[in-house]
Structure formats: structure tokens, C-alpha cells
Amino acid sequence: MNKIALILLAAILTNNMVLSKFLGICPFLGVSKKTNTALSMSIAVTLVMVISTAVTHPLYTYVLYPKYTYLETIVFILVIAAIVQLLEIVLKKFLPPIYKSLGIYLPLITTNCAVLGITMLNITDELNFVQSLFNALGAGLGFMLAMLLFSGVRERLETADIPEFLKGLPITLVSAAIVALSFLGFAGIGG
């Protein structure tokens, strides 16, 4: 139990996917303009992370291990792509407003390296099935935290008086760096 709480905490704060490991930067910059879309995007990513881990972990343990571990990357990408497609179909059917607000970024989760990253990290860190699930959940929540924090920053940037040469992407990247810097303060907590 203790171990699981520790994994969750570490995944959210210390090893934050976006701000410490710098994975999944594309949606972090692309969808963080509005808090609403940032939230629904991170829910979708969290969902994909947990489901993919639930599929990839047993697949690795019982099919690929020990002889065909080199197939890890290609098999995981295949599985993630299929799950994202499935999620897209389900969302379109049952939650059309979310489907519309996510737009192009939903299929782009396929190539979101944070998802592939977490499934592969679970294997490298030699976590068991339940621990992997919580690690994925933590990574997703960490992604959500980063997105929400940053969408707040960006909403403030909208009305700020920014020098001409920094307007748009430059100021976004600079503020992303500062937010990432602040997450260094969590280094060492949890492991």
C-alpha cells in the first residue's frame, strides 16, 4: 500500500511526465490555451495511459518476455494506436462535445510520446501489474496537473503586455521553462 502511494506521488510530482521528463510537449503547448480543453485532453491522455498499460504490461510479461523483448517498441505503438482509435470511436458515439473540442489532438495522442514513455518506463522500472497501473494513473494525473497549471499561465499571458519579439510561441516556451524549473523543487521526494 505504502509503495503504491509512493509510486503515485512520484509519478505526479517528482517524475512529472511533462515538466521533469519533457515527454508529451506537443499537447502541452498545443491544447493548453483554454482550461476546458486542457482538462478534457488530459482526461483522454490519462485514460489512454491506464488502458494501454493494462494491455501492454501483460502482453510484455506473457508474450514478449524473455525472448522477444526487442519487439517492445513496435508492439506497444501498435497497441496504443489501436486503443486511441477505439477511444475516438467511443467518444464520437457517447460524448460528441468532448470529441469536437479535442479535434485533431485526439488522434495525435497516438504519437504522444508520454503514453509510449509510461508503458515502457513501467517495464524498465520492473513494476508489477498493479504498480504499473498506478504509475500510469499517476503519470496521467501529473500530465493533467501540468496542463492545468500551464493553461492558467497562458490565460494570464493572453492579457499581458508582452514585448513584440516575444509574442506567441516564444513567451509560451519561456514560461513553460520557468514552470518546469519550479518542478525541480520536488526532486528527491518519493523517489
Binding site: L59, V63, L64, I74, V75, L78, V79, A82, V90
Partner: protein, 258 residues
């Protein structure tokens, strides 16, 4: 032989994923209305909202259900209205409209009550004592309308927004954006326009702006068709009656009718 097993593993996983997805897409398919898709194709896709629906998708859905009139898309104008009419098999009449900045303000005509140095937006400036101009009805000139225009049809001319007639489609986004309500929609081929929005009468208007309508009723008395009337202390043109004879322009001492 050694290569066969990994190939089979990948192929089987791919097959399972593919089958699962094709089943899912079959059983959870969302039926798309064909008329709606056709109408959506015919609409310009600017999502300006002039029709009163939430973008082109919303308008197409309402049209397909028969809940909307087919000539509401001012962005697409006559061509779009005709295309929609063909799809829905109904007769459509569309009259093109255009935005008009009903204010003659430029820096030399109206004086400033104070210097404004806040957020460069008309909406923000208007909140501060009704804006920096002496005329509280006129164009502030911080170009919220130009920024809002989805077609880039409002250009800056001497610090004053001017509507480009070729680009404007009359969607009315600027009309809703302007905090002063200076911008109005008029028929595209208008011959007469009143360039003032000041709803006060007489002396305070003269004081605020050199080029303003003081509601003297000269134009109203001159017009033979009864097409121009003073309403709320501003001359208003009735475009159904106006034939563009130009007599009101001659008698206007304040030179606000063009």
C-alpha cells in the same frame, strides 16, 4: 525459422486490434445525415456565427432538420444561399449586406477627454468613463472590430477602421464586437449613409465633434421619398425607400451624410 515467431506475434496482435476496431466502428457508428453533410460542404466554413447558430456545423444541422431559413449565411452570400436552395429544393432570395462604421471620427474632428494608456482594446477603454473621446458614442479606434473580423475586411485608415467592400461579407461579427455599437449592417449597394452615432442633441454634440449629426431634421424635410428620418437624435436611412438622389447630402450642414 527464428524470424517467424516475432512476425507471427506482430501479425496476430495487429489482426486482433484490426478486428476489434472494425467491429467497434460498425456497432458504434454515428449515422451522418447526408443532406447535412452536403449543406456543410456548401457553407463557407468561416464559423463566423452570422446565421445565429454555433458555427457552420450547427447551421447545417438546423437546415437539414428544416429549422432554419436557407438565406441566413451572409458570409457565403448569394452563391451559398442558392447552393443550399438546390440541396433543399427550395427557392431562396438573398440580399447581400455589408458592415458600415457609422462614425466620421478621426483625430482632428473630436477632442479627447483624457489620454488613455491602458489595455489597447475598445472594450477595456469603453469601461473607463465611456472611453477617452469627448464623444461617448463614437469610434474609439483601438480596432477590436478589425481583430474580430474573420475575413480581414476591416482595415485601418488614418487610425480609423474602414470596411473593405470587396472583402466584407456582412457576417456581423464586428457589429457584436463594437462596445459602442458604431458598426451597422447596411445593404451592400447602399447609396446613402449617415456617419454619426451620437444620440445627444444640439450643443453637446457640436462641442464633442466637428462632424456630427445634431438632429436638425434638414435631411428629413428635404427627402421627397420619406426615406430618411431622425430617430434617437440621429438621421436614419430607410434603404427600402431611398433611391440615392443625394439631396440629403447637399442640405446636411454637418457633412455626416455620404
Amino acid at each position: 525459422m527464428e524470424i517467424l515467431i516475432p512476425v507471427i506475434i506482430i501479425a496476430v496482435i495487429g489482426l486482433i486490434a484490426g478486428l476489434g476496431l472494425s467491429f467497434a466502428s460498425k456497432y458504434m457508428a454515428v449515422p451522418v445525415d447526408e443532406t447535412e453533410a452536403q449543406i456543410r460542404e456548401a457553407l463557407p466554413g468561416a464559423n463566423c456565427g452570422a446565421c445565429g447558430f454555433s458555427g457552420c456545423d450547427g447551421y447545417a444541422a438546423a437546415l437539414a432538420k428544416g429549422e432554419a431559413a436557407p438565406n441566413l449565411c451572409s458570409a457565403g452570400g448569394e452563391a451559398t444561399a442558392k447552393a443550399i436552395g438546390e440541396i433543399l429544393k427550395v427557392e431562396v432570395v438573398a440580399e447581400p449586406k455589408i458592415a458600415l462604421v457609422a462614425c466620421n471620427n478621426s483625430c482632428d474632428k473630436t477632442s479627447r477627454a483624457f489620454a488613455y494608456e491602458g489595455l489597447q482594446s475598445c472594450t477595456a477603454a469603453a469601461l473607463l468613463q465611456g472611453g477617452p473621446l469627448d464623444c461617448k458614442y463614437g469610434c474609439i479606434g483601438l480596432l477590436d472590430c478589425a481583430n474580430a473580423c474573420p475575413f480581414g475586411a476591416i482595415v485601418v485608415n488614418n487610425g480609423h477602421p474602414t470596411v473593405c467592400k470587396d472583402l466584407c461579407v456582412g457576417c456581423g461579427v464586428c457589429v457584436n464586437t463594437c462596445p459602442k455599437g458604431v458598426i451597422k449592417l447596411v445593404p451592400k449597394n447602399y447609396k446613402t449613409a449617415v456617419l454619426c452615432n451620437n444620440k445627444e442633441k444640439g450643443a453637446p454634440v457640436v462641442k464633442a465633434c466637428k462632424s456630427s449629426c445634431i438632429a436638425c431634421t434638414m435631411c428629413e424635410r428635404t427627402c421627397e421619398k420619406g426615406a430618411i428620418k431622425i430617430v434617437d437624435n440621429i438621421a436614419q436611412v430607410n434603404y427600402e425607400l431611398c433611391d440615392g438622389c443625394g439631396k440629403c447630402k447637399e442640405v446636411c450642414k454637418r457633412k455626416v451624410i455620404i
